[in-house]
Symmetry: C2
């Protein structure tokens, strides 16, 4: 393969090397640019001389300042760049970004399970919520039995899962921040893929009681039918009676869920969460912009699309507030960024704690560069709403769901927000999967997609090699979302049953 | 059953009602005490008139002050008592408690698995450590395969477990407090029940690399043999090759572990962790004092015994420092209490966040009363050492392992400290279990033991009814520890495979 590099914006003074294994000293590009040293794959090469103190420009923005003279053709690595300060939240503009042409896409549909509350499931899953970690092993035991003994009787039900976690007792129930794990657990139980038929297993003496986790007012079914098995109830004599009580309630729920069938639903019933993890320098060039393209298609089709990961977008706050549909949205964006700034400062940290050794080895030098790549997942649409961590989406269009960037914490919070389809991009590679919603995984480069042929669902590396455009990969993502949502396509994570545990975000202390 | 009550110390001015269901108004005790109202089971009755402002005395200490006139024979409930302030850490005495006669118990042995580092396992388990949550689902998949395909070939190996967790990436690796989860994961891998044959599954790009979680200097085997499977390694083509690589390394470890046999070991090789959860007013009267008696027997036999749960013993700090074997131990006790006071204050909370609705319904009105009951688990021995959360024990005798009271967080930290046997008392009832060490569960009352006949291993409720003495139940606990450690007795949690997930204590922020 001939030497290839990607420059994103005309004003950029660095480009990234595309070739597998990087390029050696002396490599000459078509336009005469000559490498003065080895530049690793996915890392940056200087397109012009960058004297000490020059801004390093990528994505059309300054991602750092050189701390030494860097000649044209040199490797612009982490040690040569000073990180810019975080942009001030006070100075972020309210609106003003050009509003792209987003003509509606009419008539796009998928086959889903319609719920009584108007939401639509892409899967038909029985979930057993738990109020406290004490019951986890018991519920795991019961779920195994349910899958073995009951599930085969109900062919329309896809799966049985336990919403287990480390919360519920031994925690400060009224501490500042404790509303986050509590509403997360509540809203997880209301996820559209669970068919509005929740059941809860409680211990009895825990701090978080079923009535505070999932009040009967939350769903009509909770007022009509008993929905809680309490282990400490006097009627249960021994473990086997406890397990039988769980199986009995599960059997009733399975019967209800089994009666449902897929119906044709407009694409506006999709709630798609976008995330990246194990990112590299190609994330912001291939996979994330392709996801952004798909995101715009979804928004045009009327769907709800979420992007997240506060610490990864914090450095692009001015770009986000400029895209806010109104001042309330801009204010809410700033509020969530400020909350996280304070949260990190409280823990003695700042946003620079985000990038990983893998990010850096992958050519992502700092949080600014990572942010520009991460924001690309949100496409170009206006931002129509903002959710605090664990809140449930109630509006359509593009939303910012404020979550940590930590992969499973973000995924869990997007599920609580009502996500029924998930798209996840990865540069370094991660076998990410969730039990509650299908996950479509994209690789940023083709070598990863080839190596992990049975883990990566879509290869966006074809954008770097020029085999496909961003639009072409974006259209493929959009189509796979519809097919997967309809149950016609199975993702690799679901094929192997690779389903990671839920990971709650609890900013409060434990006791 | 005739009316029964328990008064713990001669100076106590309240006693607790023992009878199931409580006792009605007008009940007359043998000595003429007459109830002026219904007093629920496990709740307190006033033995004398307590005018407003009187100290309420139980365990010989003031657990509160009356805020109204309370007549003899009345129910002394939460609403009638003001909680005392936490005792000052500055004023805690260094030593001075009478040193009880603790003559050595010679010749007590059990059958254990001796490890190269001198520690002894009570089980022979293969554990797969993980550096990051991204690999959890993959390792769960592999463990299932290992149990199905490999474990049957190795009859001397008891189990295969995955040490999965929500740490490793998306976290602030250098934040204050992050040393706690990191050393916890390291020391979990070194638990005596894992035979010194750790293996690690890593993703590749995570923040916590195998070399920082489990440096090769930690165990000799880590210098000799490869012990890490890295998912992102270029040699793995596809998920099935990843799984094969894990199985291959597991097979080698299983072969080593399978060669081991139990040998006679002195009781001094036991490392026993004591804990309580779902406590009630009987915890401090029946089960915990019996555990304390067993603890003293173990200490006399040369074993290591740990008690924990900072927020539950904080209010008895003066009693603990008085029992410190030397000034360093007293200082370390104060240091750990201070750390936790600060941690809770930082989160906007204080120690009063500990008691649960279940505690209160069970007659435990506040943290002072709970503390006196919790400390009873430590017996009467001198305190010989203090461990910070996640630190590994290196001394014999009674140790205070500073941990949150949260059941699985405490259990996980005690496992990291090297615990090879666990004793857990419960009043309200919890189906607690751990994968890494056998758990003996005690009930504080007989009705729970009868109802949960296949979850509770020892009924300490016989102490309340007068059928057994504290010493008799203590001896039974001691004997069951030896039998279980030797593999001759199976606990109910192990019988059903009720093994809760590990729960890390991470006081640092996530990103
Ligand atoms: Ca990300
Ligand atoms: Ca992420
Ligand atoms: Ca699990
Ligand atoms: Ca306790
Ligand atoms: Ca506890």
């Amino acid at each position: 393969m001939k030497p290839l590099r990607i420059q994103l914006q005309p004003e950029d003074n660095v480009a990234i090397v595309v070739n597998e294994g990087g390029l050696p000293t002396g490599t000459v590009f078509d336009d005469g640019l000559t490498l003065v040293e080895h530049v690793p794959e996915a890392h940056k090469v200087a397109l012009v001389d960058l004297p000490k103190g020059s801004p390093v420009t990528r994505y059309g923005v300054t991602i750092g300042t050189t701390n030494a003279d860097v000649p044209r053709g040199a490797w612009v690595h982490e040690g040569l760049m000073e990180e810019p300060a975080a942009p001030s939240l006070q100075d972020a503009p309210f609106g003003g970004a050009p509003v792209p042409d987003m003509s509606p896409l009419e008539g796009i549909t998928f086959q889903g399970y319609r719920n009584a509350d108007g939401t639509v499931g892409t899967r038909n899953i029985l979930a057993i919520s738990t109020t406290v970690q004490c019951v986890s092993a018991t519920v795991d035991y019961a779920v195994k039995r349910i899958k073995q003994d009951l599930l085969p009787k109900y062919p329309n039900v896809d799966d049985v899962i336990a919403i287990t976690h480390n919360y519920g007792c031994g925690i400060a129930f009224y501490a500042p921040g404790s509303e986050i794990p509590i509403r997360t657990l509540r809203n997880l139980a209301l996820n559209p893929n669970l068919g509005g038929a929740p059941m809860v297993v409680s211990l009895g003496c825990e701090k978080m009681q079923p009535s505070s986790m999932l009040p009967a007012s939350t769903l009509p079914v909770l007022q009509q039918a008993p929905y809680v098995v309490t282990l400490q109830d006097e009627e249960h004599h021994g473990f086997m009676e406890i397990v039988s009580a769980i199986l009995e309630m599960a059997d009733k729920r399975l019967e209800e869920l089994n009666r449902r069938t897929r119906v044709t639903c407009p694409a506006s019933d999709l709630v798609v969460g976008m995330q990246c993890g194990g990112s590299d320098a190609f994330s912001g060039v291939t996979a994330n912009p392709a996801v952004g393209y798909a995101s715009d298609l979804l928004v045009r089709a009327g769907a709800t699309v979420m992007f997240s990961e506060v610490t990864e977008v914090r450095d692009g706050i001015h770009m986000l507030t400029a895209r806010a549909a109104n001042d309330d949205v801009a204010r809410a964006l700033i509020r969530e960024m400020q909350w996280y700034d304070d949260y990190l400062a409280h823990g003695g940290m700042d946003r620079s704690a985000n990038p990983t050794p893998g990010n850096k080895a992958g050519g992502l030098n700092n949080i600014v560069e990572k942010a520009m790549g991460s924001i690309a997942k949100s496409g170009r649409s206006q931002i129509h709403g903002v959710l605090g961590p664990g809140e449930r989406a109630s509006t359509k269009g593009l939303l910012f769901a404020a979550t940590p960037a930590s992969d499973f914490v973000c995924g869990t919070l997007q599920l609580a927000a009502g996500m029924n389809m998930h798209v996840f991009t990865t540069g370094r590679g991660t076998p990410y999967g969730l039990a509650m919603a299908p996950v479509i995984k994209l690789s940023t480069r083709s070598p990863l997609a080839r190596r992990w042929h049975d883990l990566i669902d879509i290869d966006a590396g074809t954008i770097a090699t020029g085999e496909e455009t961003i639009a072409q990969v974006g259209e493929r993502i959009f189509q796979m979302i519809l097919d997967t949502a309809s149950g016609k396509h199975t993702t690799w994570a679901d094929h192997y049953g690779l389903h990671n545990e839920f990971a709650l975000f609890n900013p409060a202390p434990i006791t």
